[in-house]
Amino acid sequence: MRKLKVTGILVAILVLASCKKEIIDKVAEFTGFQKPVNFPEPAYHFDTNPVTREGFELGRKLFYEPRLSRNNTVSCGSCHIQTSAFTHHGHDVSHGIDDRLGKRNAPPIMNLAWHNSFNHDGGVFDLDMQPIVPITTFEEMDETLENVLKKLKAHPQYPGLFAKAFGSEEITSARLLKALSQFMVMCISADSKYDSVMRNESSFTAEEMQGYELFKQKCASCHKEPLFTDLSFRNNGIGIGFNGDVGRYEITLNEADRYKFKVPSLRNLKYSAPYTHDGRFYTLDAVLDKYSTGMRYVQNIDPVLDKGNSTYGIDISDAERVYLKAFLNTLNDEHFVKNKLLSE
């Protein structure tokens, strides 16, 4: 009897184990860029930079390559950590080389193939040009692109890897940047419970469904499905930050853009705390508190948040909060943060 039970458990474990392994293997297999069926057409220019296995793998190696920084200590992956949905977990503003502090919270490298601008202020409009920012920023990697190319050229592996990806050993800025993009556009999060519901593979619980309805009423005008951002720049009334960051204004010099920031996605909030451009909120409840009770007028506050009579915010009752959080929880995608294909 007892023996039987043990074997039974053993078999079960073996089955589970092999099952899990299969999933991981399947997942870790490179299949090129594939648009999830519930997603719109991507914005990235695949015509000038098609994703190939070799290009992607080179991009991944570069993403985790500390030689991209002045003293070879900081990689892209230092601030964009996969297990934190490619954010800088636990840091309100990220810190880089020599522990110098930046002024903003590191956003996730997630579904960027659908974005048409980058950073909290949208100052970069082509994903290919984004890596220049951290590489050359004093507080981040404090390097020059020129010197990075020099280091890669002198490296025993890179010339060969560039040849595999691009046909010759030449290492240029364009190739470096395009390889990084090939990796980044593959960082797709589309395997949350929400996605499986949208693809009719499962269904919401009653609570989650209530939360979804509330979400569509109260949040979706900015946090638009399925990316959970409409990619616009808005002021969501959280108030001016500790460093007075003016956000989008820095790029447009338009007074109407002062204190506006790009609407972030709400996918993977479980992994990506702290929140908002300066990481001032450490918990989801703190953000919801701000929306429901803590909001005051600030220049350019979004009209959606104007409740009349000089009051601002979004009404969220205690019950509604429970539902909303249940729904937001369906946006967490464990597969994304564990996907071996995207790991170092």
Partner: protein, 261 residues
């Protein structure tokens, strides 16, 4: 002596060849940086601006692009864009001129862009080679990463009028750029410069030699013109509304001195 030579060569090449888009010959445009009536020497000579402030210049560089030439009858030749971007760097002999090829002929007007046009500023990274490669000359970088775009003109120097900065120097920094914005309009400091060559000598472009349009570039005008720029009031000007005033000033800094044919 130069005048004599000039006359002599003029006489020799008097007849203008037939215009043929396929028969190209070299033309160079020389950018000779000066301040008022004196030559520009980096880190050496002290100059005085219209606001009465003394300064020296430690760095001066700017982009020249999209070169076009016109004959007296209005015939226009646009240098193919891929060969029409130049970074003029004071103190670097090799980057004091823009060298292009145009059809043989006599040209009475030169037009170029001071800066990098918006189209190129938004092009695929594959198209940003040579002086537009963000990896080239990053030590005194002409590219803004955080606000994707090129710096059109960069001038830095020392002046007692400037406050002491983090490095302990009284430094002023003018980094002027802005191509008009990608998805939302913003400042546009792209300047098209048009220069009449009739007064100081049309460019007679012929095969087998290089006609050289010698321009004087009075970089003192960065700080004077429609707006008198005071280093004390504006020691650092980068991406800001005030930069448009500086750009408006420097659009007038080019004058045609002579042409070596």
């Amino acid at each position: 002596m130069a005048g004599l030579l000039f006359l002599a060569s003029c006489k020799k090449e008097g007849k203008e060849p037939e215009y043929n888009q396929n028969e190209l010959a070299p033309l160079s445009v020389e950018f000779d940086n000066i301040v008022g009536g004196t030559n520009l020497y980096l880190n050496a000579t002290t100059y005085t601006n219209a606001a009465g402030e003394d300064y020296t210049v430690s760095l001066l560089q700017y982009y020249v692009s999209n070169i076009k030439v016109y004959k007296a009858d209005g015939t226009e030749y646009v240098v193919p864009q891929d060969s029409s971007y130049f970074l003029i760097k004071e103190g670097d002999q090799a980057s004091g001129s823009a060298l292009v090829n145009v059809p043989e002929g006599d040209y009475a007007r030169l037009v170029f862009t001071l800066g990098v046009d918006s189209l190129r500023s938004t092009m695929d990274i594959d198209k940003r080679t040579g002086v537009l490669d963000p990896a080239s000359g990053m030590d005194n970088g002409m590219y803004w990463g955080w606000n994707s775009g090129y710096i059109f003109l960069k001038m830095e120097g020392l002046s007692a009028a400037a406050p002491v900065d983090g490095s302990g120097q009284n430094k002023f920094r003018y980094h002027i750029g802005g191509f008009g914005g990608y998805s939302a309009p913003t400042i546009n400091n792209i300047k098209e410069i048009s220069i009449d060559l009739n007064q100081a000598g049309v460019a007679k472009v012929r095969k087998g030699r290089t006609s050289n349009i010698h321009l004087m570039v009075d970089i003192g005008k960065v700080m004077s013109g429609t707006t008198t720029v005071s280093i004390a009031a504006n020691p650092t000007v980068m991406f800001s509304d005030f930069s448009t005033k500086i750009a408006a000033n420097y659009a007038a800094m080019f004058s045609h001195d002579h042409t070596e044919n």
